[in-house]
Symmetry: C2
């Protein structure tokens, strides 16, 4: 018990972005660590037979409204990006490369910056050139990152992330597993906090 929070997310997921803005503070409050694990929802949706929220009739329109309202409700800056959803292989691989090359902390800082670039500033983080620019702003070796994210070991690691997610029955973003207990969605962070506080619900 008292294990780490395994945090699975896709860089194109608004609720994943909300979770990313809050999960480190939540975990720190209960002296837990967070394992940030970028995944590709597209690969996961193939198994669960799902699709991006905004493409589902009726639910899609509501979702666009809910993203904005949930952001206001929780006090998180948010603008719906013009291009949505986007392919997030490059962003996820960039984070994986940073995790392996410079460590968890700068990789997490980069992930937060990438999420904010996309969901606040409307920058298309599906474009490697924009990821490069972000890495430069973070003082990272952007050229090495760009080269690294296309390497076979990094592609392999991201595939492993997705496989591990599926083995753990992850079907959406954000998805948190702690001490074997799964929490899907930013709207379960209240239950997640209760679990961290009391060790059970």
């Amino acid at each position: 018990m008292a294990g780490d929070l395994d945090f699975y997310f896709d860089f194109s997921s608004p609720y994943g972005y909300f979770a990313a803005m809050r999960i480190d503070a939540l975990a720190a409050k209960y002296r837990r660590k967070v394992n940030w694990t970028p995944i590709l929802l597209g690969a996961v949706f193939k198994v669960s037979g799902s699709m991006p929220l905004t493409m589902i009739p009726l639910k899609g329109e509501y979702a666009l409204h809910d993203f904005l309202r949930s952001a206001r409700f929780h006090g998180i800056p948010f603008r719906q990006p013009a291009t949505f959803p986007i392919a997030t292989q490059s962003a996820a691989r960039a984070m994986v490369w940073l995790q392996q090359t410079v460590g968890a902390e700068p990789a997490i800082a980069f992930a937060k910056a990438a999420y904010q670039a996309y969901f606040v500033d409307g920058i298309d983080i599906g474009d490697p050139a924009n990821l490069q620019h972000l890495a430069e702003k973070q003082g990272l070796d952007a050229a090495a990152m760009l080269e690294g994210l296309n390497s076979a070991p990094i592609k392999e690691q991201l595939k492993n992330n997705v496989e591990r997610a599926l083995q753990n029955k992850v079907f959406g973003s954000p998805y948190v597993i702690v001490d074997g207990e799964p929490f899907w969605g930013f709207d379960r962070f209240d239950q997640l906090e209760s679990f961290l506080m009391n060790g059970s619900i």
Copy 2:
């Protein structure tokens, strides 16, 4: 503004049951009325291309866990019924008949009793004989209700409920619309309360 809460729900929906246990008290706190509108999710899912949660790979298993945990978290008695989901035409028509024949208040009391019978006592409320027994316990004219729920005008009214729901872009249960603002899911009752308190989010 300051209009009623239009509350759409299906009698086979666990989150609809949670909402049914709480919506009247929430509305009363902000001096609002609730229009209880039973619908058939099956008809709605045909439009949104969705299906019962528990039938979706991965998500289904999680949902069964989430029903129980959410019930504990919110302090609402709940047991997963052995037969799930069930056809809810009869229960919905029974409520519509009561609404038209004896008024909103006893119809709502019956709806709550039906939800509790299903989600606490495991009684199959898809079976008209069980609805009859429930009506008897509520001191209602159970024989008249059983006959009435198969009448053409009652079937027509339930169809109208579903059509109105679709016109209002309802795609799930529970779904609340107040002052033009839509809230899907019991997990948006925190935002619903904020909206009722402040008139906006």
